[in-house]
């Protein structure tokens, strides 16, 4: 269970008792980046939903999202970081344009320095596990290729 009081905890409660999209988090655990798509009008949702906001239908399916994308925009958190993130000054965040999908997702960009980032840089999906056992995801700059 989470250790932070829930009104100061950014991470969603992800178990079946707390949410109807616990499958998203189960999928993260198994290395899959997924979201919901409406079987009636084919609209792809972000974040995952239980009702399609377009047609209000409830027949949704889980689909895989690309794990690769590019930086459409980015910045860094230098001052005024929230509780739980105070130690992360310098962290890069950005809008990630998923390869081949009309979706841009806001994400932490791990393994990156602001000065080294450019619009269009490649990034990859990066799931992680919290100390309390919950899982979440961010994106990261790919590790540099080994010297030739």
């Amino acid at each position: 269970m989470p250790q932070t009081p829930s009104l100061l905890d950014f991470y969603p409660l992800e178990d079946e008792k707390s949410t109807r999209i616990s499958k998203f988090f189960d999928n993260v655990r198994q290395g899959h980046f997924t979201t919901t798509r409406c079987t009636k009008d084919q609209s792809v949702h972000w974040p995952p939903r239980v009702v399609c906001p377009q047609c209000h239908g409830e027949a949704l399916e889980w689909i895989e999202l690309p794990k690769k994308g590019r930086l459409f925009a980015f910045s860094a958190l230098l001052l005024g970081l929230p509780m739980g993130m105070e130690g992360e000054a310098g962290a890069v965040v950005g809008m990630v344009e998923l390869d081949g999908w009309p979706i841009k997702i806001f994400s932490r960009i791990a393994n990156a320095k602001y000065e080294d980032c450019h619009i269009g840089d490649a990034v990859e999906w990066d799931p992680y596990t919290l100390a309390d056992g919950r899982v979440f995801f961010r994106f990261r700059k790919p590790a540099a290729p080994p010297p030739a």
Binding site: W46, A76, L79, P82, K104, R108
Partner: protein, 390 residues
């Protein structure tokens, strides 16, 4: 629809205040009651309170009756608290307008307040992060500065806007705030050089590009046409209102650099008011960050898309330019106590039309003005059009 007038208003001193949430409420009430001719507590049939996050910043909910008690009011027609993040104050004004226009209320106090400076700045920032979609965007580090920083980055990338042009917005608004003793940065000088060398908050945005965490309050009195002359000889009239929202989670945002929702809301406002953007004499807009004001020039139709940087550089938004923008000092100069900001803007409109502001920021012979607040990640835009003559 009945006509609705703004007849009185005032604000507390804004800044880092040695005062509680409730004490700020009382200061706004006194500012209002001392500005209206013959206003008694028994006249007030309705109370609207704009307050974004009293639950988080002051650990207090059910704030409408608390505000009524602090002001000695016993509203018997409408009692409401309005939350719309940074637009809570203006949204409360629009609710009061609707209540009076429909005949539900005749005399309404609209009070906006926020107490943002609490012992832990990190706790306050945490509360600001829940304005975005907390579980998906906030969790990633999404707060206002990085969001508006990305808007600035894309605007610079797509249109060639510069850090210097952004700094000029801050210079102008701080200059106006120096004429406003109630503002957070009254008596503080901000040169372009000082802004461009201030610490980076979220690049490319520096501290001088950002509005502040502010404690403050304000209140205005809205009344029906038949009551207007009871409280002043120079009422100001609400001509039209408009709002638009097009997303909440950042993934569903149409564009970082074009605020399509504002363009739609402005179009609705101008059509309802029977005007076009060239009719606006001055505008109180939401300069939460310098880039915001630049994008707002464009979406409000004061200049062409992409020309916002040039607009400030040419002095077109300064006193004497095409349209004076933020003569009060804006959020950059006055501070941004969320629920109170829209009220402060309305008080400025009232005092401009009543020629009660210092000459250094007075837009002479102004007839038409608008107020604008965005909220959250510029995903909601709230606009009100005011006229000096009925």
């Amino acid at each position: 629809m009945r006509k609705v007038a703004v007849v009185a208003g005032g604000v507390s001193t804004w800044g880092v205040r040695s005062a509680t949430w409730g004490e700020l409420v009382q200061e706004a009430g006194n500012a209002l009651f001392s500005s209206a001719r013959s206003l008694g507590a028994k006249d007030v049939d309705s109370l609207f309170v704009g307050a974004a996050q009293p639950e988080r910043f002051a650990f207090q909910s059910h704030v409408a009756p608390m505000t009524a008690e602090l002001l000695g009011l016993h509203p018997w027609k409408v009692l409401r608290r309005n939350e719309l993040a940074c637009a809570s104050g203006q949204a409360a004004i629009q609710d009061a307008y609707a209540a009076i226009a429909s005949g539900l209320s005749d005399v309404a106090v609209v009070l906006g307040v926020e107490k943002m400076n609490i012992p832990s700045m990190a706790e306050a920032t945490t509360s600001m992060a829940n304005v975005l979609d907390r579980a998906w965007d906030g969790v990633q580090g999404g707060t206002a500065p990085p969001f508006f920083a990305m808007a600035a980055q894309r605007h610079m990338h797509e249109y060639g806007t510069t850090a210097e042009q952004m700094a000029l917005v801050s210079v102008k608004n701080h200059k106006f705030a120096n004429t406003n003793p109630k503002s957070q940065f009254y008596s503080k000088t901000f040169t372009k050089e000082k802004i461009l060398s201030s610490p980076m908050v979220s690049p490319p945005l520096r501290l001088g590009d950002c509005s502040s965490m502010t404690d403050g309050s304000g209140a205005v009195l809205l009344v029906s046409e038949e009551k207007a002359r009871t409280y002043t000889d120079t009422p100001v009239w609400i001509s039209a209102t408009a709002q638009y929202t097009d997303f909440h989670n950042l993934a569903n945002m149409p564009s970082l650099s074009s605020w399509t929702g504002l363009k739609k809301a402005a179009s609705e406002l101008y059509q309802k008011g029977g005007i076009d953007p060239t009719d606006i004499d001055f505008a109180e807009v939401h300069d939460c960050f310098t880039i915001s004001e630049i994008i707002e020039y464009e979406e409000l139709g004061f200049c062409k898309k992409g020309q916002g940087g040039k607009f400030i550089q040419e002095g077109q938004s300064d006193l004497g330019g095409k349209v004076t923008v933020n003569p009060r000092g804006g959020l950059l100069g006055c501070g941004h106590p969320l629920g109170a900001t829209g009220i402060g803007q309305a008080v400025e409109v009232l005092e401009q039309f009543q020629s009660k502001v210092p000459a250094a920021r007075h837009v002479k012979d102004a007839e038409v003005a608008l107020t604008h607040n965005l909220s959250g990640s510029a995903n909601v835009h709230t606009l009100t059009l005011y006229r000096r003559e009925n």
